[in-house]
């Protein structure tokens, strides 16, 4: 449930916006996400969902305002400190973030790169480390059989599961998922969202979705974006049809 009033410090807080050239992708957003929330970001294509998630992840600096992650202003930190904060976030995206040319094992192990030294990381490409943990993570997403498979052979749904297994070994506190199910059929989409919404994966989830129905089932809070502005921010139980209709209506 979204908690109003004083509560735990926000996991992530965004104030400001982002422009690309003359295009205002996000305008005057003031958004806080608290620990334990399951936030769905809804909106038509081009409404600013991906920009919002990139800003929260710290992979894109805002053109105005600031991003506070775990209480610290992300773009005022040294890059080393920023990296330490970023390793507490896990990302999943619509386009596969897996490398096709290597085995699933390495793609899952990539979740541990932030805690590994460079030599250990590169060494593991030749002599894999932590195989047992990787196997356990894969088994939890029902992909145990794929440990030594080459990633390019997997289907879209299988790849998203492997991406989730990567998060399982990374153990982030916050998961940011950018349209993780937009290319999946309804059954697989529901499976992947169930895995993403699992408390054991991360306490907090922000996920952008195209189908409001999925938001109602898997999330506790819904944010509507339209042309770069937040048009509603409500508990999913209060989502209603007119609001959604406005959200997707043509300008």
């Amino acid at each position: 449930m979204s908690e109003g009033g004083p509560g735990p410090a926000p996991v992530v807080r965004l104030r400001g916006g982002r422009t690309f050239g003359r295009h205002n992708a996000l305008i005057d957003v003031d958004l806080e996400v608290r620990a334990g929330e399951r936030v769905a970001v809804l909106g038509a294509s081009g409404a600013g969902k991906s920009t919002l998630l990139s800003l929260l992840a710290g992979s894109l600096p805002p053109t105005s305002g600031s991003v506070e992650l775990f209480g610290e202003d992300l773009f005022r930190l040294t890059s080393g400190r920023r990296r330490q904060l970023q390793r507490r976030i896990g990302t999943v995206s619509q386009r596969s973030t897996l490398v096709e040319q290597v085995r699933v094992l390495h793609n899952v192990n990539a979740g541990r790169l932030a805690e590994w030294s460079t030599t250990r990381a590169l060494g593991s490409l030749l002599w894999p480390r932590g195989v047992n943990e990787v196997r356990e993570a894969l088994e939890r997403v029902e992909m145990g059989w794929a440990l030594h498979e080459r990633t390019e052979r997997l289907s879209g749904g299988e790849r998203q599961r492997v991406a989730i297994a990567r998060l399982l070994v990374q153990r982030p506190e916050l998961v940011l998922a950018d349209e993780p199910v937009s290319s999946l059929d309804p059954v697989r989409a529901a499976d992947v969202l169930t895995l993403l919404g699992d408390e054991a994966l991360a306490r907090t989830l922000v996920v952008s979705l195209h189908q409001p129905v999925l938001a109602q089932v898997h999330c506790t809070r819904a944010i509507g974006l339209r042309e770069g502005r937040v048009v509603f921010d409500v508990p999913t139980s209060e989502l209603d049809q007119p609001e959604l209709h406005d959200l997707y209506a043509r300008a």
Partner: protein, 565 residues
């Protein structure tokens, strides 16, 4: 070869397209007139005042031809040949590996994605410097590098390795940088977002994706390195090239033929191996590397590295160690007292640059000779391409039937002839040409033309293999005569390939004139060799700057023309 200095990517302002028939015809006429004018100018410039054919040398040519069927099989000499062959391969391997190391480091610095598309200020500054250095390093031919290194290091095996590694490394850095930027960046982005260190993230997110392309390019570079090592023989770098120039100078024709036989064998083996590996990596033809075309590699993913590739990957480190030992490479020569003092003396002699004796007129005259030689060489090269290229394209089965054995025979013969043309180094072609012709533009152009023809025809033939035949088949289905439908549907793309590669090779040819110049043909290369042997190093750097300007100008014009295609 591309120079990428702030390439303007701005889109043309939207304006109504007005391509009329008159404009097309006018443009074609203008282009045609320009080409004819250029060739006519080059031909006029190449006509010497005196005689062209050296009658005195013809008997020598006769001797050379006479021994073709009687190569030397003297056991002592065969031992020399085997040693030289191994040395050549070893130098090529070490030079290529050096170039790959330089290319990998340079490629990461030049790549945008490796720096999260926001390179920090020091990296941006380093990059700017690096780009300028790379262009300058590449503009100087391997042979010239070798001559300069020889004057500092003496006859050290380092000369060969450095002379290959520097210019090739500069080219490789450019290609690797572009490769890194061309693969999907989401995986790398995700790892960086999750806090991974830069090098770890590159190792997991970028390198595996770029690796097949990089390997394929490495093998292509190895083929090029092999040809270059042989050319470097003129500068005293050991191996087949060196033995060739010794035997040519002492006019032991039978030995020349043995050496050429060994050279062809080595080149053929390496090309077969490299082709096999590059095919298995399922990437691109040499032709694509040559002009640096961006490619969609998503079409075909081999399930895993094939056996030849894996065997090669195991064999290469072993071969590298063996090569190191065989040529007796020792980096101590780099920082010895003698090297240091010679280097500082060379640099102080070279600076400030000066005009050669005779001043501007000699320098400009040599530069024009260089361009004329390259133009004539390209004419010969294109003629060879048109004559042999169509046969050297892998026969493709029509829809209706199979290809006859005669066509396959023609293919094998065509490829064989091209292999001979490009494997015999242009220095040897030039020495042979200089037996029958008096020094000047023409022997140089003949030598370069034969060599360039061997390379150009192969590139074009491989590109022709990829031309889409479906439009032709569609025309045939519509009842158009086979010859007409081939001309309409296959002609334009084939012509386009020919023009693209000709322009590209022309840029290289300008650089390569240095090679035939060194053995006495004409142009800036000859002037350079002349000044080098007179120890007139101030003029040497003057000539180097002139050749840099010429190749930069040709590259700029070539790029404009290519973009307009």
């Amino acid at each position: 070869m591309t120079v990428q200095l702030g390439r303007p990517e701005t889109e043309a302002p939207a304006r109504p397209l007005r391509t009329t028939g008159i404009r097309v015809v006018r443009r074609k006429l203008l282009t045609g007139a320009a080409v004819v004018g250029l060739v006519a100018w080059a031909a006029a410039r190449s006509v010497p005042e005196g005689e062209v054919v050296n009658r005195g040398g013809l008997s020598l040519l006769d001797d050379l031809a006479g021994t073709a069927l009687n190569p030397s099989f003297d056991p002592a000499f065969l031992r020399v040949v085997v040693d030289a062959t191994v040395t050549t391969a070893a130098f090529a391997l070490l030079g290529t590996l050096g170039a790959l190391v330089l290319g990998l480091v340079g490629g990461v610095v030049l790549s945008d994605v490796a720096w999260d598309r926001r390179p920090p200020l020091p990296v941006r500054a380093l990059r700017l410097v690096l780009r300028v250095v790379l262009v300058a390093v590449r503009a100087v031919h391997e042979l010239v590098w070798a001559l300069l290194f020889v004057s500092v290091l003496g006859l050290d095996p380092l000369v060969a390795v450095l002379a290959l590694a520097l210019p090739f490394g500069a080219q490789t850095a450019q290609v690797f940088g572009e490769t890194f930027d061309a693969v999907p960046e989401e995986p790398l982005r995700a790892l960086r977002d999750a806090g991974a260190r830069r090098v770890s993230a590159l190792g997991y997110g970028l390198l595996p994706q770029a690796l097949p392309l990089m390997l394929s390019y490495a093998f292509y570079r190895f083929e090029c390195a092999l040809r270059s090592v042989v050319v470097l023989g003129v500068a005293g770098v050991g191996g087949l090239g060196f033995e060739l120039s010794v035997s040519l100078q002492s006019r032991n024709w039978d030995e020349v033929w043995t050496l050429i036989g060994a050279l062809l064998l080595l080149a053929a083996l390496v090309e077969l191996w490299s082709n096999r590996v590059r095919c298995n990596l399922a990437i691109v033809t040499c032709a694509d590397w040559a002009v640096g075309q961006a490619h969609d590699t998503a079409e075909r993913h081999p399930a895993r590295l094939s056996r030849p590739v894996r065997a090669s990957l195991w064999a290469i480190p072993v071969a590298a160690v063996a090569s190191w030992w065989w040529v007796g490479l020792s980096p101590s020569g780099l920082y010895s007292e003698r090297t240091r003092s010679l280097t500082s003396r060379l640099l102080s002699d070279m600076w400030p640059p000066a005009l050669p004796d005779g001043g501007w007129s000699v320098l400009v005259g040599s530069a024009l000779d260089t361009v004329a030689m390259a133009v004539l060489a390209m004419v010969l090269g294109v003629a060879i391409t048109l004559a042999i290229g169509p046969w050297a394209s892998r026969p493709r089965r029509g829809r209706d039937g199979s290809t006859g054995p005669l066509r396959w025979l023609a293919w094998a013969v065509g490829r064989g002839v091209l292999l001979v043309l490009r494997s015999v180094p242009p220095t040897v072609w030039a020495v042979v040409a200089l037996l029958g012709l008096f020094p000047g533009i023409i022997p140089g152009a003949v030598a370069l033309g034969l060599y360039t023809g061997g390379i150009l025809a192969r590139l074009v033939a491989e590109a022709w293999e990829t031309v889409d035949l479906r439009p032709r088949d569609a025309l045939r289905d519509a009842g158009v005569a086979p010859s007409v439908s081939a001309m309409l549907a296959v002609g334009p793309p084939s012509a386009r390939h020919l023009v693209t590669y000709t322009l590209y090779r022309f840029e290289i040819c300008i650089r390569d004139t240095a090679i035939v110049g060194v053995v006495g043909a004409a142009g800036l290369g000859r002037l350079l060799q002349d000044r080098l042997s007179a120890f007139d190093f101030a003029a040497v750097s003057g000539v180097l700057i002139a050749s840099f300007v010429v190749s930069a100008l040709v590259e700029l014009v070539g790029r404009q023309v290519r973009r307009g295609l």
